[in-house]
């Protein structure tokens, strides 16, 4: 890195599935923490996870006392007839003074912009805005201040979007990498009757089954479909359809038709992403433990501080926390990923 180069300081945006994880993230150096309520208004509607309204109030107090922000994900799509729950959630977010809400639905965004003009809006990755004009549309219609880009773009494409988008850019740098365009996937619903977009859950735990066999292999099932068979000693991933193995004509055995289980890790691309104009780096994993939050957030806090100070970043190995115990730079490095 050239000595004279002054890099803009991006925010480090960290996940929290519980109040304890939120405190862990703040303590580990998060600039902002994102979380969701205990219902289908957010895309990690998992059993035992997330925040009640009183939890959220205390979390905001804890974070604000330490100069950290709290972002509330309200990023699912209300089914017709159920909009009231999303309206109440947006109202609560405004009342509690969260620093921004993260939205995806046209109706939710319109309601928030109209009713709470001072409430800062971020566009969720669930809105799938992957081109400058799509981003412009959301900015012009709803006053969106920041867009979270889908995990399907190269660094060069991100730089181009930054040059053409009238808002801040947030990109993922670590965590689960779903293969399908976010917010546009009903695979889970096809297998289980529960909708990722409307119910906020991909591969609901209640429909996941693991079946061990005598040889030490394990099959994973979603609804009535077998989605993978994991050999003895072979590492595993999340039981999602897009990381399963399937048969198709022309192939002699099962293959990862969409993607192998692995974790996105862009620690090596941080300087490039900052130069591309990214204003905020997001770590995925609201469904993970506070041990994960502490380890990953600390590692990226150090790495980011190193980059900004002109040192080459030293990133502690996070492989142990990674899905399939493999890492990837996914779409970001090159178009050949596609």
């Amino acid at each position: 890195m050239r000595e004279t180069e002054i890099l803009q300081r991006p925010e480090l945006i960290c996940p929290a599935g519980t109040p304890a994880a939120l405190r862990a993230a703040v303590d580990a150096g998060a600039d902002a923490v994102y979380c969701g309520l205990q219902n289908e208004t957010n895309a990690r509607n998992f059993p035992g996870l997330n925040f009640s309204i009183p939890d959220l109030e205390q979390a905001v107090a804890y974070a604000h006392a330490r100069q950290a922000k709290v972002l509330l994900a309200v990023n699912t799509f209300p089914r017709a007839g159920r909009f009231e729950l999303w309206r109440e959630t947006v109202d609560a977010a405004a009342r509690i003074s969260v620093d921004a809400i993260i939205v995806a639905d046209f109706g939710v965004a319109a309601y928030a912009a109209r009713t709470h003009p001072k409430l800062r809006l971020h566009l969720s990755v669930q809105a799938g805005a992957s081109s400058p004009n799509a981003i412009r549309y959301f900015c012009e219609e709803f006053g969106i201040k920041r867009v979270v880009l889908p995990r399907i773009l190269t660094v060069a494409e991100i730089a181009e979007i930054h040059g053409n988008a009238p808002c801040e850019i947030e990109t993922f740098i670590f965590g689960n990498v779903g293969m399908m365009a976010e917010g546009r996937c009903s695979l889970t619903n096809y297998a289980t009757g529960i909708s990722t977009n409307m119910d906020g859950v991909c591969s609901p735990a209640g429909d996941v089954r693991y079946v061990p066999n005598a040889e030490g292999n394990m099959t994973s099932h979603l609804g009535c479909f077998m989605i993978d068979q994991i050999g003895r000693g072979e590492s595993a991933g999340y039981p999602t359809i897009c990381k399963g193995r399937y048969l198709c004509s022309g192939r002699t055995q099962g293959y990862y038709a969409f993607e192998e289980p692995q974790t996105l890790n862009l620690s090596a691309l941080l300087p490039d992403l900052i130069r591309a104009g990214v204003a905020a780096f997001k770590i995925e994993g609201r469904q993970r433990s506070r041990a994960y939050v502490t380890n990953v957030v600390s590692a990226f806090r150090r790495a980011l501080d190193d980059v900004l100070a002109g040192r080459s970043p030293e990133i502690a190995s996070l492989l142990a926390l990674s899905e399939g115990q493999k890492e990837t730079q996914g779409a970001y490095r090159s178009k050949t990923w596609r």
Binding site: T18, A205, V211, A236, Y292, L318, A320
Partner: protein, 182 residues
């Protein structure tokens, strides 16, 4: 706020195993001797951390078999707020259950202690889940919503035995840390 050990995992050949001595000491313990210690643990956790039940929701009444594969016995947990129960059972006579969580004693210890990420342990195949997956996820999330370790909270409640209990926990943490970094 967390134990000094790093993230969860370790290649399969180097996974932390219980030292032979501990194994030898635990093997002959008659379960009737263990039980008087287990019941108060469940009662204490239920009393001191009522928010657990809100997170568990309908799963509070499920029976969780916690199965340390390198020990001769397993633990059956029924969080039920009205009548929380933790009981030991011989490997040869494992009781009926809704969900089973199996792994080495040290891994399960680290999970409850808050120093290991459950997903990571699952990815590395060192944690086995069967039965009611949703109940397991709810239990994991409920136990994770706490500052520090639930084990410290339990050991502090042990009255005259809290010092030895806390020493035992520290010793096991040290073993885990050593094994993990080995």
């Amino acid at each position: 706020m967390h134990s000094a050990s790093g993230p969860a995992s370790h290649p399969a050949d180097a996974r932390p195993q219980l030292p032979g001595l501990v194994h030898v000491l635990l093997r002959p313990i008659p379960l009737p001797l263990l039980r008087p210690f287990l019941a108060p643990i469940a009662a204490h956790v239920a009393r001191a951390h009522p928010q657990l039940f809100a997170r568990l929701g309908p799963h509070a009444h499920k029976r969780f078999l916690i199965d340390p594969l390198d020990l001769p016995f397993g633990l059956l947990l029924t969080p039920d707020p009205a009548r929380p129960q933790l009981d030991a059972c011989r490997r040869e006579q494992m009781p009926g259950h809704d969900a089973r969580i199996a792994g080495t004693f040290l891994d399960l210890f680290g999970l409850v202690d808050g120093s290991i990420d459950g997903d990571a342990l699952f990815f590395s195949r060192e944690l086995q889940i069967s039965g009611d997956t949703e109940a397991v996820v709810a239990l994991r999330n409920a136990l994770d919503d706490m500052d520090g370790s639930i084990l410290d909270s339990v050991s502090a409640a042990f009255g005259p035995l809290s010092r030895p209990a806390s020493l035992a926990i520290s010793a096991i943490r040290a073993i885990r840390a050593r094994r993990t970094h080995a």
